[in-house]
Symmetry: C2
Subunit: 135 residues, 2 copies
């Protein structure tokens, strides 16, 4: 299947590149709509799908659409398959040696490294701190 260069696809990539945040499909839809008022949300979804499959943009998250869970809360890593969404555990001894270890273990299979640190953003960190002081 050959991809065609439609106005919609071009504007979607263009606006997404311009944004500094990490928008959801409908947030991007609202932005794109300012330039293409007649575009549909379905078109945005279809393009995000195609574009992330081709590697032109990044789809953040684990799994295709459903949220998934892990009972092991020890510090470890996940390899998410870009193709089928499968999640593999990777247990390196420490962060420092991770890349080298992965390079030898998984040579050629890693396309991108998207590291998600779970914690608090500045705003919420101060909120949490404030609540802790109050109680």
């Amino acid at each position: 299947m050959k991809l065609s260069r439609t106005v919609q696809r071009k504007v979607i990539v263009d606006e997404l590149r311009k944004l500094k945040c990490h928008p959801t499909a409908d947030e991007l839809y609202e932005v794109v709509r300012k330039r293409l008022p007649r575009i549909s949300l379905g078109t945005v979804y279809r393009n995000l799908e195609v574009l992330s499959a081709s590697g032109e943009i990044l789809r953040l998250g684990v799994g295709k659409k459903q949220m998934c869970f892990d009972g092991d809360t020890s510090r470890h890593y996940h390899l998410v398959c870009r193709c089928c969404g499968a999640v593999e555990d990777i247990m390196p001894g420490d962060m420092g040696g991770v890349e080298k270890e992965l390079d030898s273990k998984l040579a050629g299979r890693i396309l991108e490294v998207s590291v998600n640190f779970s914690g608090y953003c500045e705003k919420c960190a101060s909120l949490v701190k404030r609540n802790a002081q109050l109680s």
Copy 2:
């Protein structure tokens, strides 16, 4: 709000810990149902919510439920707020120094490090390789 120790909550944690995969809510529901046939999917969702909020289990993924996207495909990291779901970009020079850099920059804010490598799992990697040879 004080949490009570219900049978359902106990079984959910127990089964999730036993599983080596990273199940979605309804996959876990199917497993738990074998022990508690009358449990509802709603209860599973409610407990996963509570348990991940309290840190007893891990919720994998970025954002609350919606998928989100990034137009910047260069190698970089994300800090996902556990509280509001906001995603912050973090741009370290290299993987090796990441943790130290973060420790000084974001001292105390990081609860867990969940690293998601985007690439192919073994099964799909061989599929892709085979397809490449065919064409």
